[in-house]
Each structure stands twice: as structure tokens, then as C-alpha cells.
């Protein structure tokens, strides 16, 4: 901002007073001080408007970042020996096989329950 513009701002802030002479200079300083105070007041009020949404957005971004980073974190291999890892895979498949067996048995029982009445009906 140039000197001319400052003077114009001060003139505006003083309500059109003349600032010639010592008293005028003091008045100009006073008016400049007021203008500066008004500007800084305006600056202070601006953060109030965007602070809360910005804080919320920042918080969300941090939380999302932590969440995604946590999700990406690859666990460490439980085994360094492939034979031990294989033994574990084998155990897992046996467990799945046992579960499959139980499921199949349950299905067979159900099929038997359904089959008997059908046989009785067909024999009559």
C-alpha cells in the first residue's frame, strides 16, 4: 500500500478530517492506528468462521489416514520355515475338512428325514 493510499484510508477512517500540521499528523497516526485495529479485528473474526469446519476436516483426514494405514499394515509371517508353514496349512485344511464332514452328515440326516415319508407315500 502506497503513502497516498494510506492517506486516503486514514482520511476515510477520520471521517474526512484534514491532517496538515502537527496535530494533523497526530490525527493521521491516530486514524492509521484505528484503521489497523479495524483490520486486525476483521482478521481475528475470519478464523472463527472456518476454524470449526477446518478442524473437523483435519480431524477426519487424520482419522481416515490412521485407519487406512492401519488397514494396510501387513502382518508378519508367523513362520520362517516353509515346512512349519505347510504343517499349519495342512491343519487348517483338516479343520475345514472336518467342518465339511459335519455339514455333509447334517445334510444326509435331513435328506433321510425327507426320504422316508416320500418312500411311505410312494409305497401306498
Amino acid at each position: 500500500m502506497g503513502v497516498g493510499e494510506l492517506e486516503a484510508e486514514a482520511l476515510k477512517a477520520s471521517g474526512g478530517k484534514d491532517f496538515t500540521g502537527k496535530a494533523g499528523a497526530e490525527g493521521l497516526i491516530d486514524a492509521l492506528g484505528k484503521a489497523e485495529a479495524a483490520l486486525s479485528e476483521e482478521k481475528k473474526s475470519v478464523p472463527g468462521k472456518w476454524f470449526v469446519p477446518a478442524a473437523v476436516a483435519a480431524g477426519l483426514a487424520i482419522v481416515a489416514g490412521i485407519g487406512l494405514e492401519w488397514q494396510k499394515t501387513a502382518p508378519r509371517d508367523s513362520f520362517t520355515d516353509p515346512a512349519a508353514a505347510y504343517a499349519q496349512v495342512e491343519m487348517a485344511f483338516n479343520r475345514i475338512g472336518d467342518g465339511f464332514k459335519k455339514g455333509s452328515e447334517a445334510m444326509e440326516k435331513t435328506a433321510e428325514i425327507v426320504r422316508k415319508p416320500i418312500e411311505i407315500i410312494n409305497n401306498q
Partner: protein, 160 residues
Amino acid sequence: MKRLALIILAAVLSVSAFAQDGKSIYNKYSNEEGVSAVYISPAMFRLIGKIPEIKTEENGVDLSTIIRSLTGMYIISTSNPKIREKIYDEASRYVKSKKYELLMEAKDSGETMNMYTIGNDKIINGFVFLAQDGEETSFICFDGNIDRKQFEDTVASLSK
């Protein structure tokens, strides 16, 4: 400030809900007390498949082809009553959210066992085994590109 805290809390909850998958369930519970946890990485599966001296036959069933097609396996098993239900609920939510298809369900003497797969008619891209009885909860989850027919035949052979 209170509102801000509530919004952040909601965000934390939504992120944790969003983050559910085999890996996140494993990461969340693997270090808990009374949990036995196993993770086998894709690199380890490649290694298992390459080493010739490893016998990849169980009960006369050849697992080698399936092992080669796996890209990661998470196993969690616990009898800790504080987290048994949590693991079961989170795993159930996970299979629902990812639209896993129920392959088999069996309920017998208080034990519930569910198997889920995701993929298409020919290929299984993900498998989840979830079992719970009065004392223990087991969660087995693996990913890969597994031939569906071969997988089902292998599991059927193992069950004999």
C-alpha cells in the same frame, strides 16, 4: 468442542467398521491374550510350493496345487470369552459386507460352523471358515485364485 469430539468419534467408528477384512480382524486380535494366530504370506506360499522335499499330500490328498494358488492365509483361534463373540460378530459382518456366498452351514450340539466363498463359478478368490462352540471360536480366511472344483473336491476328500 463437544460436537467436534462426537464427529471425530463417529469417524473413528466408521473407519473401524469400514476396515473389516481378514487382515484387519487378524491385526486387531492376533496380539490379544489367549489368541492363537497364524499368518502365512503370499511369499511363504510361493516358497512352500517351490520346495520339492515338502510332502504336499495329506491322507492321500494332494494339496500342492491349492497351496500354489493361495496368496495369504489368516488363522485366529481363541477360547478367551471376552473376545470370542467379538471375533465371530466381526467375521460375520465381514462376510456379509463383502458379499461372500455361504458354501455350507452346519449346527451340531451347540457348535456352529459356516464356510463362505467369494469369486465365481470357476474361481474362488476368498474363503472364510468360521466356527464357534461353547468354548472356542475359530476363524480361517484365505485369498487366492483357487480352482473351485479342485478346492471342493479336495475338501470333500479330506472329510472322508
